[in-house]
Symmetry: C2
Subunit: 172 residues, 2 copies
DNA sequence: AGTTTAGCTGGACGGCGTACAGTTGGCCAC
DNA sequence: GTGGCCAACTGTACGCCGTCCAGCTAAACT
């Protein structure tokens, strides 16, 4: 998995043969350890999510959500190679992803959004914003065409709008 | 191009060989008419955008933006096969895409957002929301795991939040 | 009638994910 | 110490992919 991360970090899409080659091993040897390419990507993805800092229970909901979503966005920007897979997986269904979902739900609840369906909507919108922004930023060839600073600024702006809408919707 | 649309509409990703096969033609024959697979996708994509109705100059800005973005979203949902390409192309840089960008800019301007950079940010955020939502909805196997009604509802909610933020930002 | 040329074919190259069968080498029970 | 087990690996192959090259053919233009 470490090698897989290496491979997809320094360019292009992850290929079994690339991982195997870097390990000095035949490509099919990987299949003893991993459930195909998708499985490998899933594993790398969920492993990566471990790095995200969960907000403490004392944090202000809006600040906590901002921090969490910004960290997610940064993480995706740092690993553009697996963003497409992240998109296809609809935000990943791994253990860590669900942990993050629960953290978001809790923050929303403390922010006044008590209805479960409303929480689901807010979570989906926020996640889509993070994933979508990173995906568009990643571009075709891996190198974003847009200035990174502008990119982060527009992401932050969108996030602010969404959070204002989401948290306001929970009042009453 | 019509055949290409057929192919990627009824499942899976578009392959040159599939298009050629459906045309009763050798795969390499396509290269006389199209600049590779990417070129074909670009052409199909931009052609598809022609179908989007431009808002009239009398429309209320918020309503116009809502209609335009909803139509875009629906169009992407209707053709999940090319959403990944749309993502990679950062919303497409074709002629029609630029026409739509101009329409959005004009609506924003009339909605009180006069600063050009602010317009760019708003456009980017709105487009990312539409593309991202459709991309996540498309899922891995082409069949979305989420109920379509819920999907549209959450998209509409996010869009409302974003527009409120974008248009309010233009006041003063 | 002769020449150009658009549009095709056959074949090939390199790359991909992955399945199947067979080999190897370390570990454990006896 | 020796026999057997088994995880990990290799060799090979299949079927897919995008794409390039050289050559053919038939229609269009001069």
């Amino acid at each position: 998995m470490a090698v897989a991360r290496e491979v997809l970090d320094d360019g292009a899409v992850l290929s079994m043969r690339a991982v195997a080659g870097r390990l000095g091993v035949a490509p099919n040897a990987l299949y003893s350890h991993v459930e195909g390419r998708e499985g490998l990507l899933d594993a790398v993805l969920d492993d990566l999510l471990t790095a995200l800092p969960l907000p403490g229970p004392t944090d202000d909901p809006a600040a906590g959500l901002t921090a969490l979503m910004t960290a997610t966005h940064e993480l995706l920007l740092a690993h553009p190679g697996l963003v497409p897979h992240f998109v296809a997986r609809q935000g990943s269904r791994g253990a860590n992803a669900q942990r993050l979902g629960e953290a978001m739900r809790s923050l929303l609840d403390r922010g006044g959004v008590h209805d479960r369906t409303a929480q689901d909507t807010a979570i989906r919108v926020l996640v889509v914003h993070a994933i979508g922004d990173a995906a568009v930023a990643a571009g075709p060839d891996g190198t974003g065409a847009i200035d990174p600073d502008r990119l982060r600024a527009s992401y932050a702006t969108g996030l602010r709008w969404l959070l204002r809408g989401a948290l306001r919707a929970g009042e009453h």
